[in-house]
C-alpha cells in the first residue's frame, strides 16, 4: 500500500493535529451518547414497575416487597433488637424480673404470669404465640384468650374479617385461628393494595369514630399517618354486651382522658379482672399511646406518629418513608433534628429528663399500690365487710387505672409529660385516700398487723400469689412443640394456593 496515515503524519505534521482533534471530538460525542444511555437507565429507577400481581388482601409482606423493595427492606429491620435507651429496650426482656412489684399489681390477671418488653412488628405473631398469657391450648383444653387477640398481631386479619365477618372473626378461643394467623403485621394492614394509600383495616377504630360522630374516611393524609397506628396502639376492651362476644371496642365515647374512659367503664360497672389479693374490680389499661399523644405538644404542632417513628428519607433523590418503625431516639439526627437545632446529646437528655421525672412519680404510686393491695387483704382477713370495703376497692381500682394508663404506653412520659404527671398525681392522691380509709378499718377492728410477703424477686412474688410458673412454662413448651408446627404446616399448604402472577 502506497498511502498510509503514518506517512501522511510524517510528511505533514499538521495532519497529526487534525487527527488529534477529530478523535477528541469523536470521544466527546461518544461520552454524550454514554450519558444519554445512563440517563435512560436512571429513569427506570423512578418509574414504578410492578414485578408481581397479587390479591388485594395478600397477607405476606415479602410478596408486596417485590414491588416496594425500599419500604419492605426497611420494614423487616423491625427485627433488630439491639437498641437500648434509658428505660426501654427493643428486645423482649422480662419486665417481671426487673420489677417484681408488677406481679403483685397484676395478681389474678395473666400479666402476672408473663410480661415482657415489646419487640418490633416483625415479632408480633411469635410473641403472642409464645407468651404464657395466651395459655397452652391443646386438643382438649382451649386457650383462655379469645380470637380477638389476633386482631393486632397478624396481616392475615383483613383476609379473615373479609371471610368470617367482624363478629365471626372475634368469637371463639385464640387457638381456633392459630393456623390462619401466621404472618406478622404487614403491608396490607395499613395500605390499599391498588393505590398504596393509607387505609384503616381494623373495624374497632372506624366504629369508635362513628360513635363520636366522625367519619374516618374524611381524615387528611397527615391524620392518617397517625390513625393507621391508632388501629392498635390504643386502650381497648372486649365487649360482651348486646349479644356481642369478645367484640373489640375502644372506650372513647365520652372522651380521650383517663377520667372520661373511666366514666365510660363505670357506666356499666365494667372490670377486666378481680384482683387476687385485694378483691378490687380492676381495669387493665393497654398501650394508651395514641390517646396520650393527643395531649402532647408534638401533636398540637401538627405532627403524626410517622414523622418521628417512620421519618422521611431521601436516597438517590428519591423520597420515601423509612418503614423501620422504632424509637426516634435511635436516629435523633433524622427525627428530632429535622426541627430542633440542639445537639443530639442535648435532645436525648431532654427526653431522659422527662422520662426520669415521670418514672419517679410512677414508682411512688407503684409502691403505694402494692402496700394498698396487701392492706386491703388484711382488712378482709380481720373481718371487714363488703360495705366497708366497697369505697376502698373503688379507690384502689381508680388509682391503679391511673398508674397503668401511664405505665402501659412506652412513649407516654415523652409524648405527654404534663398529662402523665397529672394522672400520676391524681393516682397518688387516690391510693393515699384508700390507705387512710384502710387505717380507719384497722382501727375499728383494732388490728394493724399487715403482713407483706417477700416479693423481692419474680419467683418469690409469683409464689406469694400461687402461680406455678414452671408448670405454665412446661405446658407452653409442649404447645410450642406439638401445636405450632401443625399450624405452620396448614398455613403453608393454604398459602401455596394464593394468587400470584409475575409481571
Amino acid at each position: 500500500m502506497k498511502w498510509s496515515i503514518k506517512q501522511l503524519v510524517e510528511t505533514k505534521p499538521w495532519a497529526g493535529w487534525v487527527l488529534f482533534f477529530i478523535t477528541s471530538v469523536f470521544v466527546f460525542i461518544l461520552g454524550l451518547l454514554a450519558s444519554s444511555i445512563m440517563e435512560r437507565r436512571a429513569e427506570a429507577q423512578f418509574v414504578y414497575t410492578p414485578k408481581v400481581e397479587y390479591d388485594p388482601l395478600e397477607p405476606r409482606s415479602d410478596i408486596w416487597g417485590q414491588n416496594f423493595p425500599k419500604e419492605y427492606y426497611s420494614y423487616i429491620q423491625t427485627a433488630d433488637t439491639t437498641f437500648k435507651s434509658l428505660f426501654n429496650v427493643s428486645d423482649d426482656e422480662d419486665l417481671l424480673e426487673s420489677n417484681p412489684k408488677l406481679v403483685i399489681l397484676f395478681a389474678g390477671n395473666p400479666f402476672s404470669r408473663d410480661y415482657n418488653h415489646a419487640r418490633g412488628h416483625f415479632y408480633a405473631v411469635i410473641d403472642v404465640v409464645k407468651t404464657l398469657r395466651t395459655g397452652a391450648p391443646n386438643d382438649t383444653t382451649p386457650s383462655p384468650q379469645p380470637n380477638t387477640c389476633w386482631t393486632c398481631k397478624s396481616s392475615d386479619v383483613p383476609r379473615l374479617i373479609n371471610k368470617l365477618g367482624v363478629q365471626g372473626f372475634y368469637k371463639g378461643s385464640f387457638d381456633k385461628l392459630g393456623h390462619e394467623c401466621v404472618n406478622y403485621i404487614g403491608c396490607v394492614d395499613c395500605h390499599d393494595a391498588k393505590t398504596m394509600n393509607l387505609k384503616i383495616t381494623r373495624p374497632a377504630l372506624v366504629e369508635a369514630f362513628q360513635r363520636l360522630g366522625k367519619d374516618i374516611n374524611k381524615s387528611s393524609h397527615q391524620e392518617m399517618r397517625s390513625l393507621v397506628c391508632a388501629q392498635c396502639h390504643v386502650e381497648y376492651f372486649f365487649d360482651n354486651r348486646d349479644g356481642k362476644e369478645k367484640y373489640l371496642t375502644f372506650p372513647w365515647d365520652s372522651g380521650f382522658t383517663v377520667e372520661a374512659m373511666e366514666r365510660y367503664y363505670d357506666a356499666f360497672a365494667f372490670s377486666d379482672w378481680k384482683h387476687a389479693i385485694s378483691k378490687a374490680p380492676m381495669l387493665k389499661a393497654q398501650h394508651t399511646e395514641y390517646e396520650m399523644f393527643l395531649f402532647g405538644v408534638h401533636y398540637r404542632s401538627g405532627l403524626a406518629c410517622a414523622d418521628c417513628h417512620m421519618p422521611y428519607k431521601s436516597e438517590g433523590g428519591v423520597k420515601y418513608t423509612d418503614h423501620h418503625i422504632t424509637s426516634p431516639l435511635r436516629y435523633i439526627s433524622r427525627t428530632c433534628q429535622v426541627c430542633h437545632r440542639e445537639s443530639e446529646d442535648e435532645l436525648r437528655n431532654r427526653i431522659y429528663e422527662r422520662q426520669k421525672t415521670i418514672k419517679e412519680l410512677r414508682t411512688i404510686l407503684e409502691n403505694e399500690l402494692v402496700i394498698a393491695h396487701f392492706e386491703a387483704k388484711h382488712a378482709w382477713d380481720i373481718g371487714s365487710n363488703e360495705k366497708e370495703m366497697q369505697p376502698v376497692l373503688q379507690l384502689i381500682r381508680q388509682a391503679q387505672w391511673r398508674w397503668d394508663f401511664v405505665a402501659c404506653g412506652h412513649g407516654n412520659a415523652f409524648h405527654a409529660p404534663l398529662e402523665s404527671a397529672r394522672i400520676l398525681g391524681n393516682g397518688i392522691a387516690k391510693v393515699q385516700e384508700a390507705r387512710r380509709q384502710l387505717q380507719r378499718i384497722f382501727a375499728k377492728y383494732n388490728n394493724f398487723d399487715v403482713k407483706i410477703p417477700d416479693i423481692s424477686t419474680k419467683e418469690k412474688a409469683q409464689k406469694a400469689i400461687d402461680i406455678d410458673y414452671e408448670k405454665l412454662k412446661r405446658d407452653k413448651q409442649e404447645f410450642m412443640k406439638n401445636m405450632v408446627p401443625k399450624w405452620l404446616e396448614k398455613a403453608k399448604e393454604r398459602e401455596a394456593k394464593y394468587y400470584i402472577k409475575n409481571v
Binding site: 503514518k6 477528541s24 466527546f28 454524550l32 428519607k313 431521601s314 436516597e315 426541627c339
Partner: protein, 192 residues
C-alpha cells in the same frame, strides 16, 4: 527536561500516541462538561443545585426576602478577600463533592462551626447599620455587649431557610436542577 526526554516515546509510536492522547483529552473535556466544572467559579445559585440534595436550601432561600439581595455565596463564602473566598469555596466544595459522590450525606444537613462564622461575618457586612452608634445609643451597654457577643443566627435561625431542614422537606419544590447533559440535537436523533 531530561525526564521528559527519557519518557519521550519512539517516533515509530507517533500515531498511537496521538490516538491515545486525543482520547484522553476528549474524556477530560467531557468530564469538565458533564460535571459543569466551570460553573463553580461563578456566584450563581444554580451552581449549588448541581447537587440535587440542596433543593430545600435553594427553595427556602428563593421564597425569602434575602433572594432580592443575596445569592448562596454572599452569605456562605467569605467576601472580604477574593483569595480567602476561593480558598474557602475550594475547601468546602471539595468536601461536599466527596460526601455527595460517596453517598454519605446525612438526612439533615447542619452547618459546621467554620461555616457559621462566615455566615455571621456576612450578616454584619450588610446589616452594619444595626451597629452604628446612633442606633446602639437606644440600648444600654450590657445589652449591646451581649448582642455583639452572640451569633445573629442564634435568634434569627429561621432566616432564610425556614424551620424544617431535611433532605425530604421540599420534595415538590420547583428548583433549577441540572438539566440533561445530552444536547437537544442528539436527543432528537435518538428519539427518531
Amino acid at each position: 527536561m531530561k525526564i521528559i526526554k527519557a519518557l519521550y516515546p519512539p517516533i515509530k509510536w507517533k500515531f498511537w500516541v496521538i490516538l491515545i492522547l486525543s482520547i484522553l483529552f476528549g474524556i477530560i473535556i467531557f468530564i469538565i462538561y458533564v460535571s459543569k466544572a466551570f460553573s463553580y467559579l461563578s456566584d450563581s445559585p444554580e451552581t449549588c443545585m448541581n447537587c440535587h440534595i440542596m433543593a430545600p436550601q435553594y427553595s427556602t432561600w428563593f421564597h425569602s426576602s434575602h433572594r432580592e439581595f443575596t445569592n448562596c455565596n454572599e452569605c456562605h463564602v467569605p467576601q472580604d478577600n477574593i483569595l480567602r473566598g476561593y480558598m474557602f469555596k475550594a475547601k468546602d466544595g471539595l468536601r461536599h463533592a466527596t460526601i455527595f459522590t460517596l453517598r454519605k450525606e446525612p438526612q439533615v444537613i447542619r452547618i459546621k462551626e467554620e461555616g457559621k462564622k462566615v455566615v455571621h461575618e456576612n450578616c454584619l457586612r450588610c446589616h452594619s447599620d444595626l451597629f452604628d452608634e446612633k442606633y446602639l445609643s437606644n440600648y444600654s451597654n450590657t445589652i449591646i455587649a451581649e448582642h455583639l457577643n452572640r451569633d445573629c443566627m442564634f435568634c434569627h435561625r429561621e432566616t432564610p431557610h425556614s424551620t424544617i431542614t431535611s433532605l425530604s422537606s421540599a420534595p415538590n419544590a420547583r428548583v433549577p436542577l441540572p438539566e440533561s447533559a445530552v444536547p437537544l440535537w442528539l436527543k432528537k436523533i435518538m428519539n427518531k
